[in-house]
């Protein structure tokens, strides 16, 4: 990590200052070891999840009772390379099931965070830019939502209604947006008093134009970077729901329902419950490392330290 001391108010000393803020955050993160480790692990898992189930041509839901409870290859006896991570109680291949579970997990995690960002940033943008009554109203709703124990609400809704993928995304997404609304609002409130906004107003730009073409591209990327952390959080959430039987329903494999199933066979076939967890853990750890690196880089850029 290079040491460049930036003193606020002085003219830029190097090229770094000429880049946009989001580029500087991305660059700062890219320069850290954590980010590179995280990114390589993540890309590896992503490619596996996309291509292995397709190329290996094993159906994750096809049962084969004759080949049930085969241990993973590193266990030695009875294991075959046809099922590198063994099979479950119905003879389904664990590797393919884990990777298909990873697909759903990533899909739901990503979509949920996108929804959270969309709703949260829109609310924050309007509240911060309009101010006054709009602000008070929107922020009171946000506060109210923040103080509701959303986990109980989410479980209650999904427990009583049918948990389909869109329902899960909506429930999780609606429980997470208030934080983004708050952050976005505070950023927008700081930015809208700046010269370039006044300049645009003088040039006759409409409010919508200023909000969506000037402020949003400036303020969104730093927030979106750190949202990587929330993708990981939502993936855990999704798997917890699956574990409780409130997530995507079987026979579709998800981490949650595979592990919940495998729990019954823990004593004689421990790999069913533990192997998918390792995939989930590696993916989450890679996301969290990237997110933490991005967050630190952002704090450095905004804090002006280093």
């Amino acid at each position: 990590m290079e040491k460049t001391v930036e003193i606020p108010g002085t003219p830029p000393a190097d090229d770094l200052r000429r880049l946009s803020i989001s580029r500087r955050i991305a660059l700062g993160a890219w320069n850290s070891l954590e980010f590179r480790i995280g990114l390589s692990v993540f890309l590896f898992m992503l490619l596996m999840a996309i291509f292995y189930p397709m190329l290996s041509d094993i159906d994750p839901t096809r049962m084969n009772v004759r080949a049930r409870l085969i241990p993973p290859v590193f266990m030695g006896e009875g294991a075959t390379w046809a099922h590198p991570l063994g099979t479950d109680q119905l003879g389904r291949d664990m590797l393919v099931r884990s990777l298909v579970g990873l697909r759903y997990s990533l899909l739901i995690g990503g979509a949920t965070v996108a929804l959270m960002l969309f709703v949260g940033c829109l609310v924050g943008l309007f509240a911060g830019y309009r101010g006054g009554l709009t602000d008070t109203l929107l922020m009171r709703i946000t506060d109210a939502q923040l103080s509701i124990p959303m986990i109980i609400l989410a479980i209650a809704i999904l427990g009583v209604a049918r948990p389909t993928i869109p329902a899960i995304i909506i429930v999780l997404g609606l429980s997470g947006w208030p934080v983004y609304a708050r952050v976005m609002r505070s950023v927008i409130m700081a930015e809208r008093k700046r010269e370039f906004v006044r300049g645009a107003t003088v040039l006759g730009a409409s409010d919508m134009r200023i909000m969506f073409l000037l402020l949003l591209p400036l303020c969104l990327p730093p927030i979106a970077f750190v949202a990587v952390l929330d993708v990981a959080r939502m993936m855990i959430f999704e798997s917890v729901l699956g574990f409780l039987g409130l997530g995507v329903q079987p026979p579709t494999p998800t981490f949650g329902n595979i592990i919940a199933d495998g729990r019954k066979y823990l004593l004689n076939a421990w790999w069913i419950a533990t192997m998918p967890g390792i995939f989930l853990f590696l993916t989450l750890a890679s996301l969290n490392l990237m997110g933490a690196a991005l967050e630190r880089s952002r704090n450095r850029v905004y804090g002006g330290i280093e």
């Binding site: 954590e34 103080s147 124990p149 986990i151 009583v160 917890v240 853990f281 989450l284 750890a285 933490a292």
Partner: protein
């Protein structure tokens, strides 16, 4: 006088929040498909009986009427009766509709009061574990920002936050109680049964404490009063423990208030895995059995707890750091 005004304002706000939560949960439970009466009387009961029981219980009245009746009871401290659970013994779930042995149903308030102490015990123990591990690492990381202790805190935080709690629970139960036989895992027959769930919960809390602590300690160490303390000739130990840590504990307390709902989610899952007889297990069973009064009661109690914890957090924060003003 200031304190009284503060308390009155916050309690009024809190009452409003609790009211909103109950209304939201109440409405959602009734709008969403899934008939609790059908579950109560069992699948074999004739439709007329279902309708008759539903009408007797007032479940076919308009939602606002039902809600007002319910809130009338809540204000008097009556959270109603469980749909499913008998006053004594375990849940009966889908019993026969003409089961004569079916007894009086349990009161929601009693159910909650019976299970809450277990959850509180679990929460306190896990908090203790989490602080025990996270405080030294976090403070040391914050004091040495950018060097290896800081990295260590970052790595531990990133790894722990990536461990799904239910998976960790299963793995630890397999290792520590099945293979090594060190700790009991399932059910509750004594204090030892709290330890394993508390460890799992602590692992979930540690990353948040670490992150808050490293950031706030690092920030405080750059303050001018810390430099001034050096000039005043105070020892480094004294500065860190008496000046820096005291002020760094304010964000930590706030974290407790903000992350309460996350903690709640963790409790839910951990209690479910270890079959620990607390509020979390009660909640999950209530949801799975569509026990409306119980779900509502739990939602009201937890949102009230949330409000109270946040008020206490703010009060304690102001007494630690008088510059804060609520």
């Amino acid at each position: 006088m200031f304190i009284l005004g503060f308390l009155a304002r916050r309690l009024a706000q809190g009452a409003l929040i609790v009211f909103l939560v109950s209304f939201l949960i109440f409405t959602l439970l009734r709008v969403i498909p899934g008939d609790p009466v059908r579950l109560m009387v069992g699948g074999m009961a004739p439709d007329e009986l279902v309708e008759q029981i539903a009408a007797e219980m007032g479940l076919r009245d308009p939602i606002p009427v039902q809600f007002m009746r319910y809130m009338g009871g809540v204000v008097q401290g009556d959270l109603g009766q469980s749909f499913i659970r008998p006053a004594s013994g375990a849940a009966v779930g889908g019993a026969q509709f003409d089961d004569a042995t079916r007894s009086e149903r349990a009161r929601v308030l009693t159910l909650i009061a019976d299970t809450a102490p277990f959850t509180i015990q679990l929460a306190l123990l896990s908090m203790f574990f989490a602080l025990l591990v996270a405080t030294p690492i976090g403070v040391y990381g914050g004091l040495n920002q950018g060097r290896w202790p800081d990295r260590l805190a970052l790595y531990i935080g990133s790894l722990f936050v990536s461990l799904p709690n239910f998976w960790l629970g299963i793995v630890l139960a397999l290792l520590l109680s099945v293979h090594l036989g060190w700790l009991p895992a399932i059910g509750y027959q004594g204090f030892a049964y709290t330890i394993l769930p508390a460890i799992v919960l602590a692992v979930e809390i540690i990353p948040f404490i670490l992150r808050t602590l490293t950031v706030s300690v690092a920030q405080i160490m750059r303050e001018s009063y810390i430099s001034a303390a050096y000039i005043r000739g105070l020892s480094r130990t004294r500065i860190i423990f008496a000046h820096a840590l005291k002020n760094a504990s304010v964000p930590l307390l706030n974290l407790l208030g903000v992350q309460f709902s996350m903690l709640l989610g963790g409790v839910l899952v951990v209690e479910f895995i270890f079959d620990y007889p607390g509020l979390g297990l009660l909640t999950i069973n209530a949801v799975l059995q569509r026990d409306f009064p119980l779900i509502q009661g739990i939602a009201i109690v937890t949102s009230a707890a949330f409000v109270l914890i946040n008020i206490i957090v703010d009060l304690v924060s102001t007494s630690i750091d008088p510059r804060l003003d609520y």
